[in-house]
C-alpha cells in the first residue's frame, strides 16, 4: 500500500522517547505542482516532538524547514500539496483532518510565531484587538474578558507598559516589542505546541537573546513543546533539547543537542557548524570563514542518490545512486541518527533497504 516516498526511509526504530510524543510525523511528503510537473520538496521526513520538548529544525534556505511545518496545519500555498505521510497530534491525524478541524487546531492548540515581526502584524488593527481575536474565536470569550486576558498576555511576554499598549498600533512599537506581541498572540490560547519560524532572524543580536530567553522561560512556565525553525545553529545550543538537520527536504541528521555539538556526524552538519564565525584572540590573524560550496538542489533536479553528494567532501561512489537511510549511528550516543553512507557504511544502508530487516 505504501504511499512510498521517492527514496526508501529507514525502518530503524529510534530510541523510545522518555516522554510521550505530542506530535509524531511519519513519512511526510510534500510536492509542488510546478511548470515542469510535480516535484518533491519534502521527501518522507519523520520526526517526533515529546511533551515539553524543544526541537530545533535547522537547514539552509529552501530545505523545506518552514514548508514541512506549515504543511502539518494546512497552511500551504496553492500549488503545494501534502501527498503522503501522517502526523499524529492529540489523537488526530493532521494530514487527514478537515479544514474546519485544522482551523480549530491552528491558534488553538498549535501556536505560531513568524519570522518578521515588522510585517506579521496587521498594520491597521490595534494590537489589543489582534490579541483578542483568537481568544474570542477559539475560546468564545466576551470582549471585556478577552481584553483583560490580552493585557495579562502582554505582561507575560514582558512588554513594557503592558495594558497601556493594547490601544497602540503595530507601527508604534519597535521590532523587539512587536515580536513579543507576536509571541503573546501565539500563546493566547495556551497551545500545546508552539512553532517558531525563525522568530529572531529579523531582529538584532541583543534582542535575539532577549527573545530566546523569553521563549525559554515561557516554555518552562507553561510546559508546552516548541519547534524552533532556524538556520542559525549557534542560537540553538542553549535553547533546544534535540536538533533535526534538514537538507533538500530530507532528514540529514537528528540528535540530542549536546551529542550534535560534541560529535556532528553528517558532513552537512559539520559544514554548518564550521561556518559559524568564531571570535579568536589573535584578531589580526583571523581565519578564513569556512563555507559549503554550491547550493541545495532545486526541487525536481535532485540527484538520484544522496541529495548532498554533489557538495559533499566525503562523497563515496555509492552516494551518487543510493539514498542513504536515516540510521542510528554506530558508536554514537542514543537517539543520534544520521543519513550518510560514509558514516554508516554502505552495506548497512543496503541491509536496511531490504524489506525483511
Amino acid at each position: 500500500m505504501n504511499a512510498a516516498p521517492a527514496h526508501p526511509v529507514a525502518a530503524v526504530p529510534e530510541s523510545a522517547p522518555a516522554r510521550p510524543p505530542i506530535l509524531s510525523v511519519d513519512g511526510l511528503t510534500v510536492e509542488i505542482d510546478g511548470r515542469y510537473g510535480a516535484a518533491t520538496i519534502v521527501d518522507g521526513i519523520s520526526f517526533h516532538v515529546a511533551e515539553g520538548e524543544t526541537l530545533g529544525v535547522v537547514g539552509e534556505s529552501g530545505c523545506g524547514k518552514s514548508l514541512s511545518m506549515m504543511s502539518l496545519v494546512g497552511l500551504l500555498p496553492n500549488r503545494i500539496k501534502v501527498v503522503g505521510g501522517s502526523a499524529r497530534f492529540g489523537g488526530k491525524d493532521l494530514i487527514k483532518a478537515s479544514k474546519r478541524e485544522l482551523r480549530a487546531i491552528r491558534g488553538g492548540e498549535i501556536g505560531f510565531v513568524f519570522q518578521d515581526p515588522m510585517t506579521s502584524l496587521n498594520p491597521v488593527m490595534r494590537i489589543g484587538e489582534q490579541l483578542m481575536e483568537p481568544l474570542i474565536y477559539h475560546r468564545g470569550m466576551k470582549r471585556a474578558e478577552a481584553r483583560k486576558r490580552a493585557g495579562d498576555l502582554l505582561r507575560l511576554v514582558g512588554l513594557p507598559g503592558a495594558e497601556a499598549r493594547l490601544d497602540n498600533y503595530p507601527h508604534e512599537l519597535s521590532g523587539g516589542m512587536r515580536q513579543r506581541v507576536m509571541i503573546a498572540i501565539g500563546l493566547a490560547c495556551e497551545p500545546k505546541l508552539l512553532i517558531a519560524d525563525e522568530p529572531t532572524t529579523a531582529l538584532d543580536v541583543t534582542i535575539q537573546a532577549q527573545i530566546v530567553d523569553l521563549v525559554k522561560s515561557l516554555k518552562a512556565r507553561l510546559g508546552m513543546s516548541v519547534i524552533w525553525i532556524t538556520h542559525d545553529l549557534a542560537l540553538l545550543a542553549g535553547l533546544v533539547d534535540r536538533v533535526m538537520v534538514l537538507y533538500a527536504g530530507t532528514v540529514a541528521e537528528d540528535a540530542p543537542v549536546d551529542a550534535l555539538y560534541a560529535e556532528p556526524l553528517h558532513p552537512y552538519t559539520r559544514g554548518l557548524l564550521a561556518s559559524i564565525p568564531k571570535l579568536t584572540h589573535e584578531g589580526d590573524k583571523a581565519e578564513r570563514l569556512a563555507s559549503i560550496g554550491g547550493t541545495p538542489p532545486e526541487p525536481g533536479r535532485r540527484p538520484k542518490g544522496c541529495p548532498f553528494a554533489p557538495r559533499c567532501p566525503a562523497r563515496l561512489a555509492v552516494c551518487d545512486d543510493t539514498m542513504p537511510p536515516l540510521l542510528a549511528a554506530a558508536g554514537a550516543r542514543p537517539g543520534h541518527r544520521v543519513a550518510c553512507h560514509a558514516v554508516n557504511g554502505a552495506d548497512r544502508a543496503i541491509a536496511a533497504a531490504e524489506p525483511a530487516r
Binding site: 496545519v73 497552511l75 496553492n78 485544522l102 482551523r103 480549530a104 487546531i105 491552528r106 491558534g107 488553538g108 505560531f112 513568524f114 519570522q115 518578521d116 510585517t119 506579521s120 502584524l121 496587521n122 498594520p123 491597521v124 488593527m125 490595534r126 481575536e133 483568537p134 474565536y137 477559539h138 514582558g158 513594557p160 507598559g161 503592558a162 495594558e163 497601556a164 499598549r165 490601544d167 497602540n168 498600533y169 507601527h171 508604534e172 507576536m182 498572540i185
Partner: protein
C-alpha cells in the same frame, strides 16, 4: 526584564493611521481648497430648500432672461425662473446622483473585487470577464439604450399602477429618472473599483500578517473583512474621491444629452444644454451652471490628489 522599568505614562498616546493621514492632508493647500468647496457644495445640497430665494419651478413671464441683479443674483432663464435657485437645486441633484451612484458602484466593486482577488480561480476569471465586457461597451451608448428602452415601459407601468391604486407615489415621474440614472450609471462605473480592489487584495493576501491570521485559525470571512479589505482601503478612498467628481460630470453629460434627469427637475447638465442655445445673447445662462460644475469637479480632483499623497506618504518626494 529591565525594559519593564519604563513607566506606563512614558508611553505616548496612540496615533491612529487616519490621524496621521489627516495631518498630511491638512498641510496640502490645494486639497484643503477642494475640501472647502466640497463642504460648501454639500451644505448647499442639504439645506437647498431653505437657501433658495425663489421656487425653482415658479415662472415669471415678465422677468425672462434677466441679467444678474440684486433680485436675481444669477439672472433668470427664458421662462423667468431664478437661475441661482435652479443651480442650488442642481447641486442637490448632482450630489445625490454622485453619492448614490458611487456608493453602489463601490459596494459592487469591493464585494466582487475582494472575492475575485482572494479566491482566484474561476471566480476571478468570471469577475474579470464581466469587468472587461462592461468596460468594452461605450458608456453613453449603454445609458441611451437603457433609457430609451426601459424608461417608456417603466413609465407605462407606473401609469397603470396609478390608475389601479390611485397611490400618488406612482404619479411622480422623477423617481423613474433617478432609478434609471442611478442604475445605469452604477452599471458602467463599478468595474474600475472591482479591478482596483482585486489588485489590492492580490498583493495583500500574501502579506505575512494574512498568513499569521490564517495561522491563528481565523475564519475566511474575518480574514477578508478585518485583515484584507481594511488594508486595501487607502487607494480605494482616493478612487472614490475622484469617482464622485466623475459621476457628477457623467450625470451632467447624460442630462445634457437628454438621457439623464429630465426637466423640470433642474440638473446642471440640462441647464448647460438650455443655456448653450442662447449663450450669445444670454451668456450667464450657460456660465452659471458650467462654472459651478467645473468648480465641483476640480474640488474632487484636488481632494483626490491630496488624499493620494496623504495615504501613500512614500509615493511623494
Amino acid at each position: 526584564m529591565t525594559a519593564s522599568a519604563v513607566l506606563p505614562q512614558a508611553i505616548e498616546p496612540p496615533v491612529s493611521l487616519w490621524a496621521d493621514a489627516w495631518r498630511r492632508l491638512a498641510r496640502n493647500k490645494l486639497a484643503m481648497v477642494g475640501l472647502a468647496l466640497i463642504a460648501v457644495l454639500l451644505f448647499v445640497a442639504v439645506f437647498g430648500p431653505w437657501l433658495t430665494p425663489y421656487d425653482f419651478l415658479s415662472q415669471n413671464i415678465d422677468a425672462r432672461n434677466l441679467a444678474p441683479s440684486l433680485a436675481h443674483p444669477l439672472g433668470t432663464d427664458d421662462l423667468g425662473r431664478d437661475v441661482l435657485s435652479r443651480v442650488i437645486y442642481g447641486a442637490r441633484t448632482a450630489t445625490l446622483v454622485a453619492i448614490v451612484v458611487t456608493v453602489i458602484a463601490m459596494v459592487i466593486g469591493i464585494v466582487l473585487g475582494a472575492l475575485a482577488g482572494y479566491f482566484g480561480g474561476w471566480l476571478d476569471a468570471a469577475v474579470m470577464w464581466l469587468t472587461d465586457v462592461t468596460m468594452s461597451i461605450p458608456n453613453l451608448l449603454l445609458v441611451v439604450v437603457i433609457n430609451t428602452s426601459l424608461k417608456p415601459r417603466l413609465a407605462n407601468w407606473m401609469e397603470a399602477q396609478y390608475l389601479e391604486t390611485l397611490n400618488p407615489i406612482y404619479r411622480n415621474s422623477i423617481w423613474i429618472d433617478f432609478i434609471l440614472v442611478f442604475g445605469s450609471m452604477a452599471l458602467i462605473t463599478w468595474p474600475p473599483y472591482a479591478r482596483l480592489v482585486r489588485a489590492q487584495v492580490l498583493s495583500i493576501r500574501n502579506r505575512p500578517y494574512v498568513t499569521a491570521a490564517r495561522a491563528l485559525g481565523l475564519p475566511t470571512w474575518t480574514i477578508l473583512t478585518r485583515y484584507i479589505v481594511p488594508n486595501a482601503v487607502g487607494p480605494l478612498i482616493v478612487a472614490v474621491s475622484a469617482g464622485l467628481g466623475t459621476a457628477m460630470v457623467l450625470e451632467s453629460a447624460f442630462s445634457f444629452l437628454g438621457v439623464g434627469v429630465n426637466p423640470p427637475m433642474p440638473s446642471w447638465g440640462n441647464m448647460i444644454s438650455d443655456g448653450l442655445r442662447v449663450w450669445q445673447h444670454y451668456p450667464h445662462l450657460l456660465a452659471a451652471p458650467a462654472i459651478v460644475l467645473g468648480l465641483a469637479t476640480v474640488a474632487f480632483s484636488f481632494l483626490g490628489d491630496g488624499l493620494n499623497d496623504a495615504l501613500n506618504p512614500r509615493g511623494t518626494k
